[in-house]
Amino acid sequence: METDAAFADMKLAPLDRATLEHEFDRLLAENGPGVARLAASFTNTASDRDDLLQEIAMAVWRALPGFRGDCSARTFLYRIAHNRAIAFLARHRGRFAAAGGEIDAPDPAPDPESGLARAQSAERLRRAVHRLPMLYRQVITLTLEGLGYSEIAEVLGISETNVGARLSRARQLLRESLENRK
């Protein structure tokens, strides 16, 4: 990946502000949608998601000068995003606990003839992911974003074997959840 090559160069010399801004913009531009989906999977409302995204962006900006390229740029970004999301949940645990950790809007029934059917299918998946226990939600969201076992292991700070075990259980729970809501 182009970003990773750029970050590899960062080890050689301290970054000036312009380079830092450029790399920051590129990192978020390449991974923005994925990070937004990750933030959405941890929050219940658009305003909470936006707050969390802002916190993630600020944390990335602060951490970027210290990044030494010892992992991929994407892993670096998702690790920060994930840590900020956990901190965000801990800080607002009263609100999320009260909501049962679930999105509280009605679940729209799928209609094959509806123009919304595809969107509703994606929404059902998002809801099902949102209902998973945190342990499994972490692994499945990163997997759905396309991260490999080793990257997920680095982001979460667990072994690859553990990632595999959690992912297997997460998929089983997700499948059951989707079938129950059909």
């Binding site: 949608p33 994925g34 989906r37 959405a40 929050t43 219940n44 409302t45 658009a46 305003s47 998601r49 999105i103 509280d104 809007a105 009605p106 729209p108 509806s114 123009g115 919304l116 595809r118 969107a119 509703q120 299918s121 994606a122 929404e123 998946l125 998002r126 809801r127 992911v129 997997t143 759905l144 974003e145 396309g146 998929r171 997700l174 499948r175």
Partner: protein, 189 residues
């Protein structure tokens, strides 16, 4: 279903951009801006009109001024009570999906339609009070009916302004009803 096919399907759905159509996202963002502007307007009116009448009553503590200040604050309180009631739950979507976005926009449209009726009633009450107050202050001896009709350019301006405002409310209400119909049709498509 094959293990990896299933995961690929989930991944495709997860990463799809179609969860909330861009047009709906833009409309919700526009409504949030509208709410902020209306709130700022309400605060400005409360401070300027409410504060102004209080200042007048403090400088000229006559019964008429006290009545004017009290009536102004009564109207302001009624307007705020309506605004806070009708705006409840309109600031953000309860969830990040199409159904929640459409539902929020439907509630926005219904709130605006209700606001046009409320606005017309409150405006009529305010105009009635103000005209009676001005009449008693400026021309208590003249016949009220004659005073109300073409007695001065100011009164003419009040009627023209009122007609324009009511015309705007009727146009706005029609526009919001069209928006509501569009949203309900969007849900049924």
């Amino acid at each position: 279903m094959n293990w990896d096919t299933e995961l690929d399907q989930w991944r495709g759905a997860w990463q799809s951009e179609s969860a909330v159509p861009a047009d709906l996202r833009r409309r919700v963002a526009r409504q949030a801006r509208f709410l902020r502007i209306m709130l700022a307007g309400d605060i400005l009116v409360t401070v300027v009109i409410g504060g102004g009448t209080l200042l007048l009553a403090a400088r000229q503590p006559r019964p008429e001024m006290l009545v004017l200040a009290a009536a102004t604050w009564l109207f302001v309180a009624i307007a705020w009570a309506f605004r806070l009631t009708v705006n409840r739950g309109l600031w953000t979507t309860p969830a990040l999906d199409t159904a929640a976005y459409v539902d929020l926009l439907v509630r926005h449209a219904r709130a605006k339609i209700a606001a046009t009726v409320f606005g017309a009633c409150l405006f009529a009450a305010e105009i009635a009070f103000c005209l009676v107050w001005i009449y008693r202050e400026t021309s208590p001896g003249r016949p009220l009916a004659r005073w109300l009709l073409f007695s001065s350019p100011f009164i003419d301006l009040v009627w023209v302004g009122s007609a324009l405002f009511l015309g705007f409310l009727i146009w706005y209400r029609r526009r919001q009803r069209a928006e509501l119909i569009w949203l309900l049709q969007f849900l049924q498509e």
